[in-house]
């Protein structure tokens, strides 16, 4: 797609008929599969502008996280979106789940500053604004993140970026979560497998080294820059006392990662009713990602 690719994208979405955007298919089944009659379209690709001194990047939704992060890392910056190398920016935003580094880098919902999306009528709509601080009108960007593309199909976004940490290291040791969380100031990740805790520290090298020393004195072992345990795919809500059953707990966000799919989450009738009213207002004919339901997605 060329200069007019947002307009091309708008035309490809059209004004009628069931439609969904396909990205890297890395989270394709979250919240349900689109119905068989759904037409699949692709979002435009490419980084429009990146000003490191502004700490914002304008990027089209079909761009992969790998390509975006490669560009940002040239200036030692990153975005708060996590996924595999094929995950697209639009896909990560529409799924909207935070990664295990949320304690340090914040939530995906804080990352989206502006979105241009095609609505159910086939019109291009702009939500939010380009600046890092903005309370101008209703923040529809909040609503789009985690919406599974049921309110609008995102074509281009402006994201907040952040500086990369100078040093990152994982440690593994025997403290239980409630003890481990008080040892260091703001670890980026704290995981627990039911026996041991795994702590990721990030920051200036000199500070990280001091914190590492504290943990080593408590019997922790340095494990390098990559997460030393494999994190299963499915997210469950973790409640104290729950059997881990081979899963891994993200202690700060109370998410239990398991290899088996979670049961459908429970929501109050009032919340679902309000959410469905929002969906119906934005997409009265139900043509955007039919078959998908954010309330059936996991935590």
């Amino acid at each position: 797609m060329g200069m007019n690719d947002l307009e091309d994208f708008r035309e490809s979405v059209g004004e009628s008929g069931p439609v969904a955007v396909v990205g890297g298919r890395t989270h394709w089944t979250v919240g349900g599969n689109p119905t068989d009659d759904t037409r699949l379209v692709s979002a435009p690709v490419g980084i429009d502008s990146f000003d490191p001194s502004e700490m914002t990047v304008s990027v089209k939704a079909g761009t992969t996280l790998k390509d975006l992060n490669e560009e940002l890392s040239r200036y030692r910056q990153e975005v708060c979106l996590e996924g595999s190398s094929e995950t697209t920016v639009g896909g990560a935003l529409m799924i909207g789940t935070d990664g295990i580094r949320r304690n340090l880098i914040g939530s995906v919902r804080e990352t989206l500053l502006q979105a241009e999306y095609v609505d159910a009528k086939g019109k291009l709509i702009k939500a939010g604004g380009p600046t890092v601080k903005n309370v101008t009108g209703y923040d529809l960007c909040r609503l789009l993140v985690g919406s599974l593309g049921t309110l609008g199909l995102v074509g281009r976004v402006i994201l907040r970026t952040r500086p990369q940490s100078e040093k990152s290291v994982w440690l593994q040791g025997g403290l239980q979560p409630e003890e481990a969380r008080h040892v260091c100031f703001q670890p980026s990740s704290l995981l627990w497998n039911g026996k041991e805790t795994f702590i990721q520290l990030e920051g200036y090298g000199i500070d990280v080294d001091s914190e590492v020393l504290k943990l080593k004195n408590l019997g922790y072992e340095e494990m390098g820059t990559k997460c030393p345990i494999s994190i299963p795919r499915f997210r469950h809500k973790f409640v104290n006392g729950m059997c881990l059953d081979g899963g891994i707990v993200d202690v700060y966000s109370s998410i239990l990662y398991k290899s088996t799919e979670a049961a459908e989450p429970q929501h109050s009738n009032e919340v679902v009713r309000l959410g469905n009213k929002v969906r119906t207002m934005f997409d009265p004919s139900g043509r955007l990602n039919p078959g998908r339901d954010p309330y059936r997605a996991g935590p």
Binding site: D98, E110, I125, V135, S147, F185, S254, L274, T280
Partner: protein
């Protein structure tokens, strides 16, 4: 039934439902609750209610619905955009008596509070626990957490920590139809649409918060505050951009220009350099060695960009002294002129130099005094036009200059508001930033929450109807904060 008799009936039902001592409609109350901290003269509230429980709020809204009345949620009334100004004789629902901290959970780092808890009271209650509530609007000694939620409030330390939305985990809300609903969850990852996220910043037009789960942020082990002075405003602005470009995101970067520095120094005598064109207050926090690195880098960057001196606070007392000047700015302004009008726009932080130059040029052209004291780190401008309201024709000049300042900010790629909100003040500018279709999309959200349009009507989105005379600024604020 005519409106007066209907009002009598509504009053009686409210007295019956929530207790007569919690329902006011005397002249003094109506006058007191007719306006907020903004420049708007305000309307007249129908009845003012002071609920003390969630059920009281439900009862208030149901009574309003029975009589086809709108309602206006109200915290401390410190808002600067007219968001709490009552239009069309609504029920004013003040949450100031719902002011308890209900639960503090240090393990999971959250606290449930009622909406009428004052921001600074929450901060004080957490002192010594190792945690704090990060949003710190300059009105924090009087504004409420409910008001912070409604306006998605900011403050100097939101540069690194984020505005209120990043610090609200869950909210119990009474919707405009009287339904009680809990949005979000204390773990911060409720699935489904982020209705909590859009409620924050909804300016009371989507319902009323009755309980709020706030995030507790760990206190940083080390804090360092710097005072930098410059002989050229442009050098100060370039320093801000250069610091961010270097990969440092301080906890706060505040800028004050020469005029405000002089007024403040005269008022509180905190040792600001009165011959400087501008000063920057920069605060960095975190682990001690990283803080030291950042202080050294900021010193180096600022000296490269023309800083005349860099003062590093060497004690808590000195740090508090530096902040005292900044926090006294708006009290100090009253020493030189009886009136001021405070603007709030955001621009890309790399455009600070050109937009500040334009702001000074606009003020000069309209023969007005402008002072700049603002959150430079995130590009959140607060040009402050000070004047004597008794001077004939001055308001016309103030408003015309203000409109040009808004336009200059938009032309630079900015937005209408960084923390004051739209309220009544800026809804006439919304069409400058959003297309008709963009605004229609925002209206869909309002309609989903409030199909009958009863929650704080006439605010945020432009509409054909006006709130009495409130589209015309013809009076001045008694006080204002940023």
């Amino acid at each position: 039934m005519n409106r007066s008799r209907q009002g009598d009936q509504l009053f009686r039902e409210l007295c019956r439902d929530i207790g007569a001592d919690r329902v006011h409609r005397d002249g003094a109350s109506q006058l007191l609750y007719s306006r907020d901290g903004s420049a708007f003269p305000g309307g007249i509230p129908g009845v003012v209610c002071f609920p003390e429980t969630t059920q009281h709020v439900v009862d208030c809204i149901k009574a309003a619905n029975r009589h086809d009345r709108s309602f206006v949620p109200r915290g401390a009334g410190t808002g600067l955009a007219g968001g709490a100004v009552p239009c069309d004789a609504p029920l004013v629902i003040s949450t100031t008596k719902m002011n308890s901290i209900l639960e503090v959970n240090y393990e999971k780092r959250f606290a449930w509070v009622e909406p009428g808890v004052v921001n600074l009271d929450l901060t004080k209650s957490l002192t010594g626990t190792g945690f704090h509530f990060a949003p710190d609007p300059s009105s924090q000694q009087s504004c409420t957490i409910g008001g912070n939620v409604a306006n998605n409030s900011g403050g100097p330390h939101c540069l690194a920590y984020g505005v209120t939305n990043a610090h609200i985990l869950a909210i119990e809300v009474v919707l405009p139809d009287g339904t009680l609903v809990e949005l979000g969850d204390v773990d911060g990852h409720a699935s489904g649409y982020d209705l909590r996220g859009v409620f924050v910043g909804g300016e009371g037009t989507l319902g009323i918060a009755t309980r709020i789960a706030v995030k507790l942020t760990p206190d940083p082990p080390e804090i360092c505050t710097l005072l930098l002075d410059f002989m050229d405003v442009a050098d100060a602005a370039k320093t801000v951009s250069a610091i961010i470009a270097s990969g440092i995101v301080p906890a706060a970067i505040e800028m004050m220009d020469k005029r405000i520095v002089n007024v403040v120094e005269e008022f509180v005598k905190v040792g600001y350099p009165t011959d400087a064109a501008a000063v920057l207050i920069i605060e960095v926090d975190g682990l001690p060695k990283g803080v030291k690195i950042e202080v050294e880098r900021i010193q180096s960057i600022s000296l490269e960009h023309g800083a005349r001196s860099v003062r590093v606070a060497s004690s808590d007392e000195e740090r508090e002294q530096i902040w005292k000047g900044r926090k006294s700015a708006f009290g100090a302004v009253a020493q030189i002129q009886p009136g001021y009008y405070l603007h709030d726009t955001v621009i890309p932080r790399t455009k600070l130099v050109e937009v500040l130059e334009a702001v000074y040029e606009i003020a000069n052209r309209y023969e007005l005094i402008v002072m700049n004291v603002f959150h430079a780190g995130d590009g959140n401008l607060h040009p402050l036009l000070v004047f004597d309201p008794q001077v004939p024709g001055i308001m016309e000049r103030v408003l015309a200059a203000g409109e040009e300042i808004v336009q200059v900010s938009l032309d630079a790629g900015g937005v209408l508001s960084g923390e004051h909100g739209i309220g009544l003040e800026k809804k006439r500018f919304m069409e400058k930033l959003f297309s008709e279709e963009d605004l229609a999309a925002q209206k869909l959200l309002k309609d989903a929450f409030d199909p009958d349009g009863r929650a704080n009507p006439f605010k945020v989105l432009p509409s054909g109807a006006s709130c009495g005379e409130v589209n015309h600024l013809n009076q001045l604020p008694d006080g204002a904060w940023v």
